[in-house]
Symmetry: C2
Subunit: 523 residues, 2 copies
């Protein structure tokens, strides 16, 4: 009865019928029934005792997807006797608690005369409803919503627990509205970690309650994120199964801290790295970490288990050329290199004291190897070969190689993003367990709200499938089929207001080269 | 008490306080009161007898703007005793009927201890609430909404009745969701005509009920606009005071018609201009015009008084080289030029028979001058000098000169869009009455949903102020002040999800050149 999906092109009279990222099991019935879907779908949620329950997160989810799926006018209600009217959702763990690193996101969908979704957690339901939404097509000719090739069966679970998107909101400020739209788009791609690189050399837009002068380092009064904005965004993300991992990049990339607290910087002429010789520097970092992680009435501002503390690209010149720091190093028998180690270890320790796992960029491992605390997570942005050493030494690691997953590298095409296998250099596969996931990274030197989405999509989608889908499927995909599916998914994103660039661009965010269809573009 | 707005920079501790496009009277109180605004504002609508009434269009407007203005979390309700809680709206003509060419859009706003809006029509109220929204700033530091320099007085009315934006949805299909977002953005800019260039050589996405094969000329099944989509968009526009002017560009730019109805094209190898020798061609055009304009139970599909029928860039080679057309021309004592005249006049006549004013591109005037029916409106896309001849001959005209207002000309900067004065070449100012307005034009060869907004904004905003604001104000503006206001307005558009490009780009849709603030960019 079921046919394993081999060629997408032949399945649909309209377009490739698929789900992006590709589920682990996706069975459609070749020559199966086309079922009308009556807008709006009525969802009912059942617990494992088969009792109907109301879960606020899911009520919002259903409403959101009804709006998203049924956005086109039909002039009729689509309700005939054979149409599917309702979705039954069975969820085992009904908790709305903040998702953890290893929260179960698995789900199944069965579409026949009705739709049944099953999941262990509400976060699995969120993934399931996104998948379902991609199977419901609007048939503009017949003015109705439908699902082709029914019965359909989907069984799915993510490959990696940490599937991230890094956005740098320091080189350019991105509005809260844009960040919400980004979170929407991440949910469409089943990404689940927004790595918020909120502070860098250029601006400090984060509101600190303990150190209220810090955000004087913002570009303007308006280009700031208040605590209320962050609370709002964290909950907006949770509602979509997305955790926010905040980053304070220390001791480099920190010149903007000096506007608000000059005394933690080497001097007024030499701003970064932050001054390691004064306790005040670590007091401020500790204060920020505390504000982000300490629990207030059961919740912390950023409840994810990880907090990123940077540690990359530290040029120690300001330390050696600033007399009081040089003197302090001599007195403490430190040189620039050991001072760097002192700094990043102390920063990591602060995170651990606040019961968070610190994430630091790969330089800390390059410099100090297995001398580092074993609770530090190493984020690899440079050459990926080092991942083998990291996991062999027993450190958790996140893959973001700049030759594959850096979105500001405009010459990297979607194929490059798709082809990067994070475990490639791991020699002993028993160490794969230490590779907890990956992130595509958008450094915003030339990206603001005007070009963000065209720069990051569809390339981010290519990375998202690599992070979600079972490697056996991804590695064996025919790239022409992948392209066809990605074209369709890109057009879906455009329909949803996410301005993804043409797929076959040779460089990121390039405009369409000539008149033509969204779905079939010149390569 | 009031100070005429001279220098914006000094007025606000945050940002330039202004309204884009600039109102005819905009008086703020220097060193005046900063008034808190309590979210959400409560609007009450009063008719001219001071009786409170409910008008559905306005109820939706108030709700929309409450969402738009109060989008940031504050953590409190902003209600202190001095805060403004409510807006009183007085509207004389309470009709929700479709706006006409000369519908009154004037309005006034007074902000003191409360806000009072007055307008002749609901469409004036729509403009007023947009202006009010631009005066309410979010103070992220104090986490509150406020209006600076109160009391404030605004008195405003548009200079031109027809303030248009042309989008070509044939070279690339733009999703219905994107068209709605475009209409939103037009309302922010107080533009009031969406000129929908829906059909061209490349695709025919318009659903014709009478000729249902025509939209087989669409790129794909999905890239089509149904009648229901159009009804939806027309109402969406009306709700925002925006009329839709549909265009069928004949006889050139029409090859996509041949997919559905091959017999109206010269031959299978020579597709356009449409075949003038067969009645079927005019039957089809008449059918389309009828579908768009004939009233069905009191409404037509596109109720605006104007319908655009193209007439531009007609290469008559296919007529002279196709034997049956050449034979027909000889038999009727016509040559290519007189056949062109026959065609465009007949097309225009069809519009008039359906009680619509036909708009045609400037070539028809170039070729036939005052021999044309006086009801034809001439749309000038080429050199603007000809406008003098057109208005002198008593024809209404719309200005869109490609050297100033063509958005696909990426080398045209915002200053160029701002500087174009449509009446410039009119020698006898008594003829200015014939210049009914202008349109900025987005031809979509290299524009799809991914780059549309960065290509058209902020340049469209520059054109919008030229079309809205009194010429005496615009002509005397200091361009540094204009730039500062435009930067602020661009950032507001970004906040509202409209991806306007950096203002100081030397070419359209170029990315930001370096890290920096949204408000203050390198020139």
């Amino acid at each position: 009865m079921f046919l394993w999906l081999l060629s997408l092109a032949c399945l649909s009279p309209l377009l490739a019928q698929s789900i992006w990222p590709l589920p682990n099991v996706f069975e459609v019935t070749s020559q199966g029934t086309t079922r009308n879907i009556a807008p709006l779908l009525k969802y009912s949620t059942l617990n494992s005792e088969n009792k109907e329950i109301e879960i606020n997160t899911l009520t919002r989810l259903y409403s959101r997807y009804n709006n998203l799926i049924f956005s086109r006018a039909t002039g009729h209600n689509g309700r005939n006797k054979d149409a599917i009217h309702s979705v039954k959702v069975v969820v085992v763990d009904t908790s709305e608690a903040y998702p953890k690193f290893d929260t179960d996101e698995s789900y199944s969908i069965a579409i026949d005369t009705e739709v049944t979704i099953k999941a262990q957690t509400i976060y699995g339901v969120i993934r399931a409803v996104e998948s379902l939404s991609q199977l419901i097509e609007f048939n503009v000719i017949e003015k109705k919503y439908e699902v082709l090739n029914v019965p359909i069966k989907v069984e799915d679970a993510p490959r990696f627990n940490h599937r991230g998107f890094l956005l740098d909101t320091s080189r350019h400020y991105h509005s809260v509205a844009t960040l919400k739209k980004l979170l929407d788009s991440m949910a469409y791609n089943k990404l689940n970690v927004f790595h918020w690189h909120i502070v860098d050399t250029q601006s400090f837009a984060f509101e600190s309650t303990r150190y209220p002068t810090l955000w004087n380092g913002a570009y303007t009064n308006a280009e700031r994120y208040s605590k209320e904005d962050m609370i709002d965004l964290v909950e907006y993300g949770r509602d979509r199964g997305i955790k926010i991992m905040i980053e304070f990049d220390v001791p480099g990339h920190a010149a903007s801290w000096c506007v608000g607290i000059p005394e933690i910087c080497p001097s007024t002429s030499c701003l970064q790295p932050l001054d390691p010789s004064t306790n005040k520097t670590f007091e401020v970092i500790d204060g920020l970490v505390a504000e982000c992680t300490d629990e207030v009435s059961g919740n912390s501002l950023f409840p994810y288990e990880f907090i990123h503390l940077g540690g990359d690209e530290v040029d120690t010149t300001c330390w050696t050329t600033t007399p009081h720091i040089d003197k302090w190093m001599v007195e403490n028998s430190l040189n620039a290199s050991t001072t760097y180690k002192y700094f990043v270890e102390k920063a990591g320790q602060l995170a651990l004291e606040h019961k968070k796992s610190p994430v630091q960029w790969v330089e800390v491992f390059e410099n100090f190897g297995s001398a580092l605390d074993k609770n530090i997570v190493i984020h690899v942005w440079k050459d990926p070969e080092i991942i083998n050493d990291i996991v062999s030494a027993g450190y958790k690691t996140i893959a973001s190689s700049y030759d594959y997953w850096y979105l500001d590298h405009l010459e990297l095409t979607w194929e490059t993003f798709y082809s990067y296998e994070p475990t490639k250099f791991i020699l002993d596969s028993s160490n794969n367990q230490y590779l907890i996931g990956g992130e595509v990274c958008m450094w915003s030197e030339t990206v603001d709200d005007s070009d963000l989405f065209a720069t990051v999509y569809p390339r981010t989608s290519a990375g998202a499938e690599r992070m979600w889908t079972n490697i056996d499927i991804v590695a064996n995909n025919d790239m022409d089929d992948v392209l066809e599916r990605l074209e369709v998914f890109k057009c879906l994103m455009l329909e949803r207001g996410i301005g993804a660039a043409p797929v076959t661009n040779k460089i990121g965010r390039f405009q369409p080269r000539e008149p033509g269809s969204c779905y079939v573009q010149r390569r």
